[in-house]
């Protein structure tokens, strides 16, 4: 059994707004093992990015309520002093953001911005040492001619190269956990593949654990070990990647998978969609948050409308759904309740 580097337990995040309390994350628990790649998948507003920000300790505004526990190597992040979290940020735990075009400060050379991440955590480092370290990490992330490019400004780089710079910033201190928040969404398809390859290679050589936040199931299939599916702030399924594509446990996961075009059958069929829209976080439906959009609710009945299903273990995976094992199998055989 590998060791958990990150343990999230009963994490709840809510924002006080003028319209009321918004529950962005609700009672979320998961763990991340050393060297593991975990994907967090879900639609916009499902709480993926808020979860990432909580782990980074970035949610400090006065109108945010945080409950539960986030432990990084046994260190409790929630409620820790800002100065203590700061020591972890960029060293033990690093983050790559979605848009490389806006992630870099336009006013400073990339070498300075990469070096800063090292200097902050190595206060005694000489200029020479920082520079060598920067060139080394730039080489590692595949930026050509690092000795020259170290003095370039971000706008002199392409989108893909900028994302490599951002990854270099994240990796310069060999973090134990890397959170990548949709790292390829803003990039061209060909560049996406390069960046994913790079991340996979780096992950293999350094044994860094990665949390990959994405809504791209293609990316998930390519480089992930386990998948956490979120809906309206809750975890609704946690499953091995090899199982999730063939036998998902939750109707929502099933819906997400059906909404992906498959090239295998070669038939020009209409793309399946999940009917309806994700609920407003101000007004989450009673019972299972997914029930108004769920095609399989009929098999369960009233229960879905009344009581929130807890995340329970189904075989070696977890699901928050009242469907029985038999019904899950029926669902995966494309059996659907009759629409009356």
């Amino acid at each position: 059994m590998s060791k958990n580097v990150l343990e999230v337990k009963n994490l709840s995040v809510s924002f006080n707004t003028a319209d009321g309390e918004v529950h962005a994350v609700d009672n979320l628990s998961f763990d991340l093992q050393a060297g593991e790649v975990l994907a967090i998948v879900g639609e916009s507003g499902s709480g993926k990015s808020v979860t990432a920000s909580s782990i980074m300790g970035l949610l400090t505004a006065g109108n945010i309520n945080l409950r539960g526990s986030i432990k990084l190597n046994e260190f409790e992040i929630l409620g820790a002093k800002e100065s203590e979290i700061r020591k972890l940020r960029g060293s033990d735990i690093a983050m790559v953001f979605q848009d490389p075009l806006s992630s870099l400060n336009p006013y400073y050379k990339v070498g300075v911005q990469i070096g800063e991440a090292y200097e902050t955590h190595h206060p005694g480092a000489s200029k020479e040492e920082v520079r060598n370290k920067v060139i080394e990490v730039m080489k590692k992330v595949g930026i050509p001619e690092p000795e020259k490019r170290i003095d370039s400004y971000p706008h002199e780089f392409s989108g893909g190269m900028r994302q490599r710079v951002v990854i270099a910033i994240a990796l310069i201190n060999d973090p134990k956990v890397l959170i990548a928040d949709e790292p390829t969404t803003a990039l061209d398809v060909t560049v996406q593949a390069q960046i994913l390859d790079l991340m996979r290679d780096l992950q293999k050589t350094s044994n860094t654990s990665i949390i990959l936040i994405t809504h791209d199931l293609g990316v998930v299939a390519e480089m992930v070990d386990r998948v956490l599916v979120m809906y309206a702030g809750r975890a609704i399924e946690i499953n091995e990647v090899k199982d999730i594509f063939t036998s998902p446990n939750h109707p929502y996961t099933k819906g997400l998978l059906s909404a992906v075009r498959s090239l295998d059958n070669g038939v020009r069929e209409k793309l399946d969609t999940i009917p309806g829209t994700p609920p407003s976080l101000l007004n989450i439906p009673q019972g299972c948050a997914f029930n108004p959009r769920c095609s399989y609710q009929k098999w369960v009945g009233e229960k879905c409308l009344i009581q929130k299903p807890e995340l329970i273990s189904v075989g070696n995976s977890f699901s928050a759904c009242y469907l029985s094992k038999a019904d899950i199998d029926r669902m995966n055989n494309d059996d659907k309740p009759v629409v009356s």
């Binding site: 970035l58 953001f97 800063e116 400004y153 910033i169």
Partner: protein, 330 residues
């Protein structure tokens, strides 16, 4: 960068040329006749006609313009024989009302205005940006409300009112300062500062408000930038993020507006100078308008235009230094 500067300077000269023509044309259509103004008490039509010839107003407009422009570069001679005199280059004409070369009058007025502007700018930038930073860092809290409130108070008070208020409080009521009488800096720096401190604050209180707003809004906008989030997630200390990332991102528009504000102020702070009796460009302009002293008004117009255009060019160059992206585009 060098090419950028050269191009900017060429454009600047072209702009000044246009301003000079416009100003000259405007003054030539005014119903004020300098020849009769400078005629004195016992005026006759003959005297006016002679005056007109002496001053060159009988010449065609284009000739007058060329003479005027030549004067700026080569100086200009007036009158003949024993009455002849010269206004050395750069000559902006001669005030017959005051009996002085315009250039001399302007150079006499400039030090007071420059002193006022520089001092006031230092105070309003410190005050404005300082309050803006405090506001932005405490958005929505008590400190934010107080700074924003102060800024709006400053913005909504007329200059003359603040000036008179300060005179009343500090000179008449508390008697901290004597009534200001301008002393050149080189004569007595202490008295210089003593005379200027209230005018400085008068200008600063009015101007700071805009900078508080600009700094506050600029910083709040920058704070939500991805690169600031990345800076925080690098583990940089809060102060470093604030100065190197947030303030750095907000400062560029402030530099632009400060440059132009300072330039306009150098053309004369008419109200402040009048309230405090400072012998600067503003008071000179006001007096010249009251006296219909056209050559002086024309001179001040050109000098002010020159200062604004130069400041504009400097701001552009500074902008290119501050923002590496601008450098590339040029």
């Amino acid at each position: 960068m060098a090419r950028f500067i050269v191009r900017r300077l060429t454009f600047m000269i072209f702009l000044l040329f246009i301003v000079s023509i416009t100003a000259f044309l405007l003054f030539s259509v005014l119903p004020v006749d300098p020849a009769s103004l400078s005629c004195g008490q016992h005026c006759t039509p003959e005297k006016i006609a002679a005056n007109r010839i002496r001053l060159g107003y009988d010449q065609p407009l284009i000739q007058q313009y060329l003479t005027y422009m030549k004067g700026i570069f080569a100086g200009r001679n007036y009158g003949e024989g024993a009455q002849a005199f010269t206004c050395p280059a750069p000559s902006f004409g001669y005030s017959f009302y005051r009996g002085q070369c315009v250039t001399e009058m302007i150079t006499n007025a400039l030090p007071a205005t420059i002193s006022l502007t520089i001092g006031a700018a230092i105070i309003w930038l410190t005050m404005g940006i300082g309050l803006g930073v405090i506001s932005a860092m405490n958005k929505g809290k008590f400190q934010d409300r107080v700074s924003t409130g102060l800024a709006i108070f400053g913005l909504s008070m007329p200059t003359f009112f603040i000036g008179l208020l300060l005179i009343y409080i500090f000179i008449i009521w508390l008697q901290i300062f004597p009534f200001p009488s301008y002393t050149p800096f080189l004569d007595n720096p202490f008295k210089w500062a003593q005379a200027l401190i209230l005018p400085w604050f008068t200008v600063a209180i009015v101007s700071a408000a805009l900078y508080t707003r600009l700094t506050r809004d600029g910083m709040l906008e920058t704070m939500s930038e991805d690169y600031v989030r990345l800076a925080i997630s690098k583990g940089l200390p809060r102060r470093k993020v604030l100065v190197r990332y947030v303030l750095r991102g907000a400062i560029t528009p402030i530099v632009t507006i400060a440059g132009l504000d300072i330039a306009v102020l150098l053309g004369g702070a008419i109200i402040t100078e009048s309230v405090f009796g400072l012998p600067g460009m503003g008071r000179l302009a006001l007096n010249s308008v009251t006296d219909s002293d056209l050559p002086v008004i024309a001179g001040i117009t050109l000098i002010t235009a020159f200062i604004v255009v130069v400041a504009n060019a400097l701001v552009d160059i500074l902008y290119a230094i501050l923002d590496p992206r601008v450098r590339l585009e040029s």
